[in-house]
């Protein structure tokens, strides 16, 4: 195997960030090929379980991206999502999951350039951290933790 490359999953909202990614593509802007995109109707659709299960099932990083505040197609989906993610991020960091594993961003349909930058930044941070080990299924196979 050559150098390790991280696998990153990106949940992009249909109306802004997914279109932003599309724009990056048609504008032929280069960005790291480490992201796998999942299109969701709204950032508010992203259940924290998606993020946790992505890590459990082998992704090294997660990006959730939606419309800028005020631009949500469903008026308030991203506002409610913002509260949810603030709590999720605080909880994960408190438990000791590296802050660089899980990212959130606002990318509009016109921001192809920004999308490429965000993916670049996320990829770089996850690369620095190395392969995910926390929350990952199978990572502790064979290890036993002593129960008091």
């Amino acid at each position: 195997m050559n150098e390790w490359e991280p696998k990153i999953i990106a949940f992009l909202c249909n109306w802004c960030s997914y279109a932003g990614a599309d724009l990056a593509g048609v504008s032929r802007i280069q960005y790291p090929p480490n992201v796998r995109v999942v299109r969701v109707p709204c950032s508010g659709r992203v259940n924290p379980v998606f993020v946790l299960k992505s890590l459990e099932n082998g992704f090294d990083g997660v990006l959730v991206s939606g419309c800028h505040p005020g631009d949500c197609h469903y008026i308030s989906g991203n506002y409610v999502a913002r509260r949810k993610f603030a709590v999720l991020k605080a909880a994960l960091e408190f438990m000791g999951v590296e802050p660089g594993r899980v990212h959130f961003s606002w990318v509009s349909a016109g921001e192809g350039e920004k999308f490429a930058q965000v993916v670049g930044r996320v990829t770089e941070e996850v690369k620095k951290l190395g392969p995910a080990t926390r929350l990952v299924k199978g990572a502790d196979a064979g290890r036993r933790v002593q129960v008091r």
Binding site: R82, A86, L88, A91, S105, W106, V145, V147
Partner: protein, 304 residues
């Protein structure tokens, strides 16, 4: 620790008897003497003569709210229920009303001034009179909303005067000082004990969903194993589902047969909700649940 007096139990029984006799309520949910010395059991009293069973003392650690729901469901439509409520239960009741799970008029809240409860476990290891962890940081000895208050007017204030003397978030702040790897190791060790019995969920006043995400099979949100990533995610998601709703009553921890320290993560989340959204659970009947609403100016420093 303050001992309950026989007199306060007497007041409680009289209040329940009167409510039943005057047909103000069809049933009263309260505590009765348990079969183990340190754990009172829930009691649903429907007859005034039966009210003699009711007690309130330091063994009344379980949350009655799941039993209230069960009793109301089993009762005829329109039945009103009385419920014995400590400070934490009173806050949970307010949150129920805020979330539309209960109408204020459906319940008669019998507030009891709580001096804290004991942990039912570790009988041999701990001083029998020792307060449970959750009670040591508790700020609310009396329900914020009540219809009847027994056991004296001495503790009717609800802000800042619980049975506990510890700093509310002392444990969280102490834990946060440790390096990330150490924090993760602590959670791994703690959650490795979990056998996925869901006692925490069943004891929790806020886990009232008819079908919990862990019980669903289509979609299968989460593996059923007691493998650590699955148990860890279960506990994270349970904490997230109770974010901005948990009243930190400690019922989950007291119910856990393996003594997993569950409340630390919930407390951290409660702290975040308080600092970020300015919300404290269960104090105000007109509040909106913190995670079901938003402010356009919520801080978003963590968003790229």
């Amino acid at each position: 620790m303050m001992q309950r007096t026989a007199e306060s139990g007497q007041q409680l029984r009289e209040a329940a008897r009167k409510l039943l006799k005057d047909k103000k309520v069809g049933l009263v949910v309260g505590y009765a003497k348990g079969t183990t010395p340190r754990r009172a059991k829930p009691a649903v009293v429907k007859d005034e003569k039966d009210a003699d069973r009711l007690i309130f003392d330091e063994t009344c650690g379980i949350s009655l709210l799941p039993h209230l729901r069960k009793a109301l469901r089993a009762a005829a439509a329109g039945t009103k229920a009385g419920i014995v409520a400590k400070g934490c239960d009173g806050r949970a009741l307010v949150q129920y009303i805020v979330e539309g799970q209960l109408k204020r008029d459906d319940v008669v809240i019998i507030g009891v001034s709580c001096a804290g409860v004991v942990s039912p476990r570790h009988a041999g290891e701990k001083d029998a009179q020792e307060l449970d962890e959750a009670c040591r940081r508790c700020r609310y000895s009396v329900a914020p909303v009540y219809d009847v208050l027994v056991d004296g007017p001495a503790r009717t204030d609800t802000g800042g005067h619980g049975p506990g003397t510890a700093e509310e978030y002392a444990a969280v702040e102490e834990f946060e000082k440790r390096p990330a790897a150490e924090r993760w190791a602590w959670f791994e060790r703690e959650l490795a004990k979990c056998i996925r019995c869901y006692a925490c969920r069943n004891a929790c006043p806020m886990c009232y969903c008819d079908e919990c995400f862990v019980d669903q099979t289509n979609p299968l949100w989460l593996g059923k194993s007691a493998e650590r990533p699955d148990t860890t995610i279960f506990h994270i998601v349970r904490a997230l589902h109770t974010a901005g709703r948990c009243v930190d009553c400690g019922a989950c921890e007291r119910a856990c047969p393996l003594g997993v320290r569950l409340s630390l993560l919930n407390q951290r989340i409660a702290k975040e909700v308080k600092e970020r959204f300015g919300y404290t659970v269960g104090l105000n009947l007109d509040a909106k649940p913190a995670l079901a609403t938003y402010d356009e100016d919520d801080r978003q420093e963590f968003i790229l």
